[in-house]
Symmetry: C2
Subunit: 211 residues, 2 copies
């Protein structure tokens, strides 16, 4: 089971590391981090560097593609090198998945045209403009092995769903227990449907300032 995760400057680290932490624990799994070049990529805030093992085109055969998001995706929506590689990877992979604004890259590559998909709650309109049919769920299965997840932390739930589909519920539950994923958030503010309105507006304004 070869799992390839493309990483890039401006990535949101948890988008990639959540699914990595789950899926690397599948029996026989190998996770490869691919980048525009071998070497470090800087996360969205510049405070962390992850190392890409290989350039995209040398990532080799793959069973699953996991596309993370982050502000860095904006510059990549017209990066024909990356979009072309995503199309080829999707054709080969049994599973094509994304976390957060990673789905914008899949959509820009034409992979989500007319399909149900999700993304970070702030970017649902962008996803629609790129041809997908946004659905406000945490994990959206569109058929043909295409699975998209909502913002950042949703990649953990998506990966457990995928672990179940790939290796069955016992393996998925064992992974959940191994990473002690028994979430107890101190607030009920993780979705625009549950967060207090002033908090939603605050996050919306902060994102607008960054755009």
């Amino acid at each position: 089971m070869r799992i390839v995760i493309p990483i890039f400057d401006g990535i949101t680290a948890l988008d990639a590391i959540g699914p990595y932490e789950v899926l690397s624990r599948l029996p026989g799994a190998t996770v490869i981090f691919a980048g525009h070049a071998q070497g470090p990529v800087h996360t969205d805030n510049g405070m962390l560097k992850l190392l890409a093992d290989v350039p995209f085109e040398q990532a080799g055969d793959l069973d699953a593609l996991i596309v993370p998001g982050g502000f860095g995706t904006r510059a990549l929506l017209s990066d024909e090198r990356m979009l072309s590689w995503l199309r080829k990877a999707h054709e080969q992979a049994r599973w094509t998945t994304s976390v957060c604004t990673g789905s914008l890259l899949l959509a820009a590559a034409g992979i989500l045209t007319g399909k149900e998909a999700t993304t970070h709650w702030l970017e649902m309109e962008t996803l629609a403009k790129l041809g997908a049919r946004p659905v406000p769920r945490r994990v959206v299965e569109a058929g043909d092995g295409i699975v998209t997840a909502a913002g950042v932390s949703a990649g953990i739930d998506m990966a457990l769903t995928l672990a179940d589909a790939i290796a069955g519920p016992e393996v998925a539950q064992a992974i959940q227990l191994a990473i002690e994923y028994d979430p107890q958030p101190p607030f009920e503010a993780g979705s625009p449907r549950t967060a207090p309105t002033p908090i939603v507006e605050r996050v919306r304004r902060a994102a607008a300032r960054r755009s």
Copy 2:
């Protein structure tokens, strides 16, 4: 607000990246990744490399220390260089925190002696042997700014608790919403108290084989 996260070979990536993703979003926060040397560290499964910015001793002043875990902690329980640095960092920091088996390092450094603390559910006895008083909760606040979290994914809940204590509930909720932390695990198997017994035994056996 300077937040220092020590990283090391054999680290569990999500232990570090969960809190990083939350706390890097605090207003004015800087996160520094420190290692035995500047350069790459390999995660527990060898599939990912994170870059350390500086050696421990050059991490500089800090307000918060976050110690992640992973199988790599075992070799570090007698690493006097690291334990000595942890003691100094703890003396200076307002907050001394850990995720998963990171608490074993804090305990080995003498920081948790006689104090309530938690760790990965498989390592509670080890934590007791190192002088702490294990408490089976997801996030344990021992006073004096010492906060420990249970296994791997618990670092996200711990960091949101910390964000609340540092910057108040509005900021913490805004961060929770920004990372869309509205967890919906597909199974109720994230704790030995909720997982089916055969799953608990399976994970226990797998860990014993690795020891």
